[in-house]
Symmetry: C2
Subunit: 167 residues, 2 copies
């Protein structure tokens, strides 16, 4: 509020000529529709969380499948170099999702296990849902890898409803 008030009719570049008179703004509804800016910000936050989810899920899968998660196997499964894995795992350790020691394999902390379980459940629901819609399995699996990080609980619930009834 640097300048105290808005100048009224002052406009730049013409634009839509929206009147800015100080009509009292309408009382916000009970459920205000999020602005496009807010929606975009939420999507960006989901992206920041995305790599963490993919990593803990892959780590959990490796542990379930072979007893341990090694950086090389993780790199192979994620399609990146081992260098990238090591650095990202360091971040995940900073964030309390995994633990590891030099030249040892990677372990999930309790919160890492929780995140992995949630991510895996979401991931599989999305994939099954797409398949049940008639999307070829390979495509469904590929699309689910990206979609999984952007489905809210309400959407997952809708997918599960569909699978339970119509699917």
């Amino acid at each position: 509020m640097k300048h105290g008030f808005v100048k009224g009719r002052r406009v730049w570049h013409g634009g839509a000529m929206v009147s800015r008179k100080s009509s009292p703004r309408p009382a916000p509804r009970a459920t205000a529709a999020p602005s496009s800016a807010a929606i975009q910000k939420r999507t960006r936050q989901q992206h920041a969380q995305e790599r963490a989810e993919d990593y803990v899920e892959a780590i959990a899968d490796l542990i379930a499948g072979s007893g341990e998660a090694r950086a090389t196997d993780l790199a192979k499964s994620l399609g990146v170099t081992h260098v990238t894995v090591i650095r990202t795992v360091q971040r995940l350790q900073r964030e309390g999702l995994v633990t590891t020691q030099p030249y040892r394999s990677i372990f999930l902390t309790p919160s890492g296990r929780k995140l992995a379980a949630e991510a895996k459940a979401r991931h599989e629901t999305v994939a099954e849902f797409l398949e049940s819609l008639g999307v070829p399995q390979a495509t469904a699996r590929a699309d689910a890898e990206g979609i999984e990080h952007h489905v809210s609980p309400a959407t997952i619930a809708a997918f599960r409803r569909f699978l339970a009834t119509g699917g």
Copy 2:
């Protein structure tokens, strides 16, 4: 192929003890299932494309709505600062999606218009589909903002089928 051949039983860290004998690998099926690594790589490519799609779509909306797309309005709509917009628009210009000149508004090139139209169509299909599944509109709109970039043509087709018939 640095070392010419694989050593057979050599194993590290125990692991699953998978035999590596040089049995001739099975002939690839007609439709080889993509590796998890390949799927992850595709998802990362979609992310790199994502900001471009959101930008050209927002630019197209601003032009449709008010006749021009200014950096400030774009920043407001995307939820970032004008600095971020200016730098990203420079990249999009490098890539031939938009044109702009100092202190002027932003225009879409033909390929920018094409990308915007495709992105918008996908975006709206995803949002309508989620709503038709019973997801509350605000949630559907929010989820669609992230999902839209990860739906293949086959999945979009399945969504449209559902909307045309079951929806």
